[in-house]
Each structure stands twice: as C-alpha cells, then as structure tokens.
C-alpha cells in the first residue's frame, strides 16, 4: 500500500480568448494519471520537455491548483489543501519536500545557509536555538559539508554545493517523500555523481521515498525502482526499471530509449541504424498508439510490474 496515492490527477489550464475573454479551450498539462508512492522507493518520472512531468511534481507538493482528481495521504484527502493550517494537512506539508532544478534561484540570496536550512525546522518543530544549530550541523555533515558553511551566503558556494544545501533543506523536516525535479541537470558529471550518491545514502538512512523527475534516462535508470514514461500529459508506460528498460512496449518509450547515446564508439553505426529503424517505426505506427484525438490510451497491465497504454482494440491490445 502506498502512503501517498494520486488518483486520476488532471491539471488543465484555460485558454482565454474572444471579445469577452471567455474560456475557449484547455491545455491539458496533466490529463489523468495515477501514482502510488511506497516507503523507501524511488519513482522515476521521465518525459521530454513539455510532457507535464514537472507539473505533476508541483501539484503533489501543492504549488499547482489541481483541476480534478485526488491526492490521498495515509487515506486523508489533501487535494488543494497545501495552505491549510489544519493538523492533518500540516503533517502532509512537513512530510513532502522538494529539491529544485536551479539551486541558485531556489535559495534565498539574503539568507545565511543556517537560516535556509533551519526554516523548515522552525515551521514544524519547536527547537531551542542550540538544538537548531546542532541539527543544521548534522544535516550539513550528511551532505558532506562542514560547519563553516553555516554562516555563509548561497552565492559563496559552487553549483554542486548549493544543490547539496538544497538536499539538506529538503531533509530538514524529516520528510517521507522528496520530489526531486531535475536535481542534477545543471551539474557537471563528477558533481552530479556526488549529489546522486548523497541522495541515495540519505534514502537508506531515513527510508525516504523519491519522486525523481528527469529527462536524463541514464540518471533515472541509476536512481529509480519504478519508472513512468510521460507523453502529452499522460503515462504511456509504467513499471519496474528492468521491465521498462529491457522490455519496452510502447513505441514512444522505444523511441526515447533508442535515442540515448551509446557510450561505446565502436557500435556507433549499429546504434544509429537501430535508432533510425525505431524512428521510422514511430512515424509509421504512431496512429496505432494514440487515439483519434492524439490522446494516449489508458494504461492496461502487461504483467503485475508493467503497464502500457495500448489501443484496447488495436495491435497488442489483446495481450
């Protein structure tokens, strides 16, 4: 059983126009997705830019107004209640935290690191100043930084260090779920390795769950247990990491996987031929995999660890 359940989540933005500025149509940024988050697991959310992956992350933490659908936290409905002061919603706010993509703009430039990291603690725990300092030092140690960092300002750190501070802040309130939105896409390879290692260590220590949003399929493969592939605001395929990477069913997933550059220059030609073959298959068969409005079909189970959005009446529909 998941402790957080997202049910049929939809986020639509109105398009206004005409003389009276009436609502003409909607942009369906997220159009009916279901997600269950279990303790200690990492869920990879992959898609190209504009697929709606960030919108899902933001809506779970309460930064986006949800059009329809539900978010249940331990069975309690917390949909669109992020600002509520009631205890059960406050618990939810404490237990779900976020790491942002751009570490420079997600840390207040006027605050010292100590204040940045202690803010979530001040909000949710009653700690004395000494206890707070002790905890901040502990958190900095977890992400491999020393005490000196406490009295510095965000601009005094490198990108990788700032991202680690972002991780420390997210962990400060002892959350159960951290939504990581492209946490390493602005970082260099060796620094990325550092941040990913820390994230995994913290996960083991605190039994954290991650919703790991990224367009980098290599990073997602490294981090995740389960993966969902998004396209046009819907999941085209969802399942365990091994199922998705080794047995992709949907043409969109196949296309995405074949586009990852291979690290072996000797197989370059073969890789390219394979990619072009999949690309052609995608153009030829695209219609089979989307309904007449271009919408992704509903997910149907292939096995218990693997769901695919196939046409119930078309190819593969009778699997």
């Amino acid at each position: 059983m998941g402790f957080i359940e997202v049910k049929n989540l939809k986020i639509h933005y109105p398009i206004r126009g005409g003389i009276f500025n009436t609502i003409q149509d909607h942009v369906k940024a997220v159009d009916g997705i279901d997600l269950k988050i279990e303790k200690g697991k990492t869920y990879g959310l992959v898609g190209e830019s504009g697929s709606g992956k960030t919108t899902i992350g933001k809506s779970i933490i309460g930064l986006e107004e949800i059009t329809s659908g539900k978010i249940l936290y331990n069975g309690i409905d917390v949909t669109n209640r992020a600002r509520s002061r009631k205890k059960e919603y406050k618990d939810y706010n404490r237990d779900v935290q976020m790491i942002f993509q751009d570490s420079a703009s997600s840390l207040n430039p006027k605050k010292r690191i100590k204040d940045v990291i202690s803010e979530p603690m001040d909000n949710y725990f009653k700690l004395s100043p000494d206890e707070t300092s002790k905890r901040v030092i502990e958190l900095l140690e977890i992400v491999g930084m020393n005490e000196e960092a406490m009295y510095k300002y965000p601009h005094e750190f490198s990108g990788g260090q700032r991202q680690r501070i972002g991780v420390a802040r997210a962990v400060a309130s002892n959350p159960k779920l951290i939504i990581a939105d492209e946490p390493t896409s602005a970082l260099d390879l060796s620094v990325q390795a550092q941040v990913l290692n820390f994230m995994r260590r913290i996960q083991k220590e605190y039994e954290l769950s991650y919703l790991f949003i990224s367009h980098d399929l290599g990073v997602v493969q490294h981090m995740s247990d389960d993966i969902a592939i998004m396209h046009k605001g819907r999941f085209v395929e969802q399942g365990s990491k091994t199922e998705i990477y080794n047995n992709p069913q949907h043409i969109y997933t196949k296309r995405l996987l074949s586009a990852i550059p291979d690290m072996d220059p000797t197989t370059r030609k073969a890789h390219k031929i394979e990619r072009l073959r999949v690309e052609k298959e995608y153009t030829d068969q695209e219609k089979e995999y989307y309904d007449k409005d271009g919408r992704v079909y509903d997910l149907s189970p292939l096995n218990e660890n693997h769901y695919v959005a196939l046409n119930p009446n078309g190819i593969g529909g009778n699997l």
């Binding site: 367009h215 490294h222 586009a259 990852i260 550059p261 072996d264």
Partner: protein, 334 residues
C-alpha cells in the same frame, strides 16, 4: 608539392583574463590540429576553458581585458594577428559557429529569413533572390519542414530543436570549411539531440568541413567524434582517437570522468565515482606541477612529473604527465 598542412593548427595558445592587475590563463598552452572532414571533440567540465578556446579561435575577446598568445594558423595566416576588419571576413565565412543557447543567439526581432540572409549579405555578392533561394536551400538541408513558411516566422514561434537547426543553418550559410559547435545539443531533449547530431554528421559528409565539437557530454562524444581532447584546468590532459579513448583511457581525470557516468547499479551499496575536491578557481590555480594532483591525493607526489607535458604513448594518443602509470582508484590496489 608541399606537405599538406592541417585545416586549422593551434599552437601554444594561451588566453588570459585580467583579474585586478594580473592576467590569468583560462586556456594554457593548448596545441591542437583539425583536419578536413573530421570531428574533433573537446570535452571537459564547466570552467575547464573549452568555450574560451572556441571564442579565442573566433577572436571574440575584448582586447582590453584579455591577453592572447600563440598562433591559430588557417590558410597559412595567423588569425590572431589579423585586424578586426580582416577577422570579420573570416568569421561566418571560413569559420562558422554554433552556440549553445539557440534562443540567445537569434535576434528576436528578425525573421528567420533575414537572420540567415544577413550573413550572406556580408560575405557574398548574391542579390536578394539568390539569397532567398539559398536560405530555402539551407532550411531544407537542416531538415526544417515547410521552409517557405518558417522563413517568415520569428524565433519565438519555433521549438527549441527548430531554433537550433536555424542556428546551424546560419553557421552553414557560406559553406565554411571549419565549424565550431559549442554545446550544440545541451538544451535539447534526447530525441532532438540525436537528430541534431545526425545532421552534423551529414553536414560533415556532404561538405567535408572540419568540426570542433565542444561538449561536456561523453555520450555525445561517443556518438559523433573522430578524435577527442580532454581538458582540465585550461590544459589538454589527454588526446586520442575516439575508440582508443573509450577503450583505453589513461589519464586519471579521463578515467575518473568515465567512472562517474550514472549506470545501472550492480548492488544496493554501489556508488558512483566522485572526484575529490573541486576545480580550483582561475586565480588559485597552481601554475606548476600536475594540476590534477590535488584531486588524487592518494597517488604519491613522486608519481607526478614536476612540469607535466603531453607524451605520445601510441600513435595519436597523448597523455599529460606520467602519473597515469601509477594511477589507481582510491581503495583499489595499484
């Protein structure tokens, strides 16, 4: 007949930036050659000087605060000695440049047609009909659908991948023998990235241009390059044909980088390799000794050369310093 010289020859290039009253070299004694019909990749992390190298070749630095030494030889002339007027004749005509951020390198107030035609106005004697014909031809070449329509649009009306194609079209407009591409696919999705890299390979096949590809993405290197130069702290630390570099990396930095690529985990305690410490800032960069030594402190100081130079260890494979012979990852046996 004289021995044919490489298309572009960079000799002992140093680019120093002024900080307070001193110049600090961001590119330090770099020598490279680029042949016809070759993709040379320059790899390194941010701050290693790879983009500065590109802008130095193009002569895009403000002379007041920059000090450039060495030679960039093209067609038997040293580009660095040219005056601004002559240099302008080279830029865009002999050397095309593709920048990382396609939105930032296009003028938002000009149509696609005008942006591409602009470089033709400077470097060719075409009349306006010929220019439009060439613009259409270029848009077709870079794989833009409905070029007649796109030509009349503005940059904001196009997607990121389409914009990058336009930037490539501008770089190609005068059929330059040399193209410098600075992180051409970094801002793009993987499927678009694959298309753009294919496009660059096709262009190379069709025109025989030499391409300098600057990137931090080793996947991109493996997929496109013929030769690779790895840069660290302003210097080239390893240079090799692409297959050799991936099969037989020698320099500790190259090996560390390859080891920190995210991969599927063997077991739960498996961790990615992390390079200790950080890249020193330009001002604090040690100017003597092995610059990478502080980041592999478990390797004894005697293993490093006093003033490391590039050694050719097999044909075309050069490695700086001899410390690679003694290098092992921390915790591993030598």
């Amino acid at each position: 007949m004289a021995i044919e010289r490489p298309l572009l020859e960079i000799n002992h290039l140093e680019t120093g930036f002024r900080i307070t009253d001193d110049y600090y070299n961001a590119v330090d004694d770099v020598s490279l050659t680029l042949e016809k019909n070759e993709i040379l990749a320059i790899v390194g992390e941010s701050g290693c000087g790879k983009s500065t190298l590109a802008t130095s070749i193009m002569g895009l630095h403000d002379a007041k605060n920059t000090q450039i030494k060495g030679e960039v030889i093209y067609n038997d002339i040293n580009l660095l000695e040219l005056n601004e007027n002559l240099y302008n004749g080279i830029r865009g005509n002999d050397i095309g440049m593709i920048f990382q951020d396609p939105l930032g390198s296009l003028n938002p107030l000009m149509t696609i047609h005008d942006q591409i035609a602009e470089t033709l106005v400077y470097h060719s004697s075409m009349n306006s009909q010929q220019r439009t014909a060439r613009v259409l031809e270029l848009l077709n070449q870079v794989g833009i659908p409905k070029p007649e329509r796109v030509m009349k649009q503005y940059p904001h009306e196009l997607s990121g991948g389409m914009r990058q194609r336009v930037v490539i079209a501008i770089a190609l407009a005068n059929k330059p023998p040399i193209i410098i591409a600075d992180e051409p696919t970094t801002a793009l999705d993987v499927t678009i990235q694959a298309q753009i890299l294919d496009l660059m390979n096709d262009i190379q096949d069709e025109t025989g241009s030499g391409i300098i590809l600057i990137t931090h993405d080793l996947g991109v290197v493996a997929a496109t390059a013929d030769r690779v130069a790895v840069m660290y702290a302003g210097q080239i630390v390893e240079e090799a044909p692409v297959e050799e570099l991936f099969a037989n990396p020698k320099h500790p930095y190259t090996r560390s980088l390859l080891n920190s690529i995210p991969h599927e985990l063997e077991d739960d305690d498996d961790e990615l390799h992390v390079i200790q410490g950080t890249v020193p800032s330009l001002q604090n960069l040690p100017r003597t000794g092995d610059r990478f030594a502080p980041r592999i402190p478990w390797i004894p100081a005697e293993a490093h050369e006093e003033n490391p130079v590039l050694h050719e260890i097999s044909p075309g494979h050069k490695v700086r310093c001899t410390c690679w012979k003694h290098f092992h990852f921390e915790g591993e046996d030598e």
